[in-house]
Symmetry: C2
Subunit: 350 residues, 2 copies
């Protein structure tokens, strides 16, 4: 049996209707609501064909049909390849970032909130997971007697800073001198390079070895943390609005998945090379999300790293709308991180 144009049209009508209502759709509904010039009986025959082809499921014999994952796949593919990304809601995305926001993490949190409130689904935003950054400046800033703050600037922005202990008699000028030396020695290195070079520096710069040792521990840790990106989630409770999750057990397992950020990051990141990814139901590879879909898009920062934004909703998601919003949001974030206005938010902290 073959898919012809009419079958496609009918399938599309079924999907549209199901996305809207969430209840199984029957043959009469299609023949009445959508102006196919066909009677319900004909639709019925076509539906039975479509079921045989694997595009429709029947919850039970006397209920309507429900689109299968395969059907959504077809639907989304044709949506994407048509290249028409409607921008229903362009302005609204743009409007939400007018406030001045500085910190990378704030931007990400904010984006997750906006995304979830715009789509009414659950939103996930990941900070860029960069290539390994290269050191550019190292600066020690006195904090109190006996301790100093390490600020490390890399080509990708500022790494999170931390306090180390130093000997009490060091003053600001000494620290500045050390900073200059360090910067000269380590410029261009990656963090792991720096770990290798440091032991020798410790030998050369006796007297200041305490500082360097503190730095050493910091570098090794910095390597680790730079691997786990920041994950912001918004609108987890939105999911409960959909009848798909009116079962408390299902809801709980979903929510607890949303709470384990690293696992979530892994899921959302996926094979994040493509500009858009749409994974439907089983394609997510996560049993807890058997009837969710995940749509992701990427944004990029000045350093050329890629971050991911994603929306998680029921399989009967409003795909075209979500894709459009993600598209806008991706551009918006890319613009922000490329710092086009004077208060420049392009910092990377991890």
């Amino acid at each position: 049996m073959q898919m012809d144009e009419r079958k496609r049209r009918i399938l599309r009508a079924i999907i549209d209707d199901y996305i809207l209502t969430g209840i199984p759709v029957g043959s009469r509904t299609i023949s009445k609501k959508y102006e196919t010039g066909l009677s319900s009986a004909t639709i019925r025959n076509e539906m039975s064909d479509l079921e045989e082809l694997g595009f429709l499921d029947q919850p039970h014999v006397s209920a309507g049909r429900v689109p299968s994952a395969k059907a959504y796949r077809l639907y989304v593919d044709s949506l994407l390849q048509s290249g028409v990304i409607p921008d229903d809601s362009a302005e609204s995305v743009l409007g939400h970032f007018s406030g001045r926001i500085h910190q990378m993490e704030d931007v990400i949190d904010h984006a997750a909130r906006v995304l979830s409130s715009l789509t009414q689904y659950t939103a996930v935003v990941l900070s860029p997971n960069g290539l390994e950054p290269r050191l550019q400046t190292i600066q020690l800033v006195p904090v109190s007697i006996g301790s100093a703050l390490v600020v490390i600037v890399t080509d990708q922005g500022v790494i999170r800073d931390s306090v180390i202990r130093i000997s009490p008699e060091m003053d600001g000028d000494t620290l500045y001198a050390i900073s200059r030396t360090l910067t000269n020695e380590l410029k261009g290195c990656t963090l792991s390079d720096a770990c290798k070079v440091l032991p020798e520096l410790i030998r050369r710069m006796e007297g200041n070895d305490e500082v360097l040792r503190g730095l050493y521990g910091y570098f090794t840790e910095g390597q680790q943390t730079s691997r786990s990106p920041h994950v912001a989630v918004g609108g987890t409770s939105n999911m409960l609005s959909y009848p798909e999750y009116s079962d408390v057990d299902k809801a709980r397992s979903f929510l607890s998945l949303m709470e384990t950020r690293d696992k979530l990051a892994e899921i959302v990141r996926g094979n994040g090379e493509l500009a858009f990814t749409v994974r439907i139901g089983p394609e997510t590879g996560v049993p807890e999300m058997a009837d969710c879909s995940i749509i992701t898009a990427t944004y990029s920062t000045r350093g050329g790293q890629q971050g991911t934004i994603g929306v998680i909703g029921p399989t009967r998601m409003r795909y075209s709308r979500v894709i459009s919003i993600l598209n806008m949001m991706g551009h918006q974030l890319t613009d922000m991180f490329n710092g086009e206005d004077e208060n420049n938010p392009s910092r990377n902290q991890e």
Copy 2:
């Protein structure tokens, strides 16, 4: 009518049983499970008295009794005044912080996670909301040509840093010189003081006024953000494990409350002067939490500021256990933020 010792004992048994099972408890249960040497009929009489006194509620005439908020109040008060804070789980709290964690925010996030997994309830941790911090050092660090990172150290730790734009010909040494001047001029000021002083500095240091202007905007914003503390929430999905929240609508309103961090912070913070606060049901003052209880404790940082940790659970919470865990956790955090080991996490960022 008066509370006598026997009534108290029976009430306590009822509360214990209800906390354990969550289903209304009947007279027979008490007379069998708990070795009062009394028959169910007697218990029945006592229960009817207790109801009259307002300690018990009856969902409907043919069901068992349920402790009222007043009963929990009595229960908790006697628990607290007995002064016995059992440490069921001392080790487990201690064990969870062995890893080296640097950043204030990481510690807080981590604490929320540990707290929720230990209690099986929802945990909220607030960063300290300080007195207004006083400037100690200001340092400009070159980031790239034309931009510099502002690092501001206060008596309470490091304020979040941000990038400002500078003229391209400034090099590291010039920035250092400016930093020194700024530090000298502004040391000891609060952020708002600094905003007042800056205009004059701008006039005096012509040539560098661009830098100072950037700083000005940053200071004014810093004031604002320093007022909204970091809020970490853990285990929101735990709440769904309790039959109290098997109603999806209830669950959703609870969850969406957990998502609006600033409102949540306000609720949890409460009148945060006391070491322990236990608010039961209506005492929380939030309709969404009519059948929740909130227990909070405080921790303090080196700067003398106080942060809050809290656990939100159903009114039939395991109070003594939660109090014990909060107590341990409070001490633990206080210790951490007073930096007793070499990798000092005592930073305040907001």
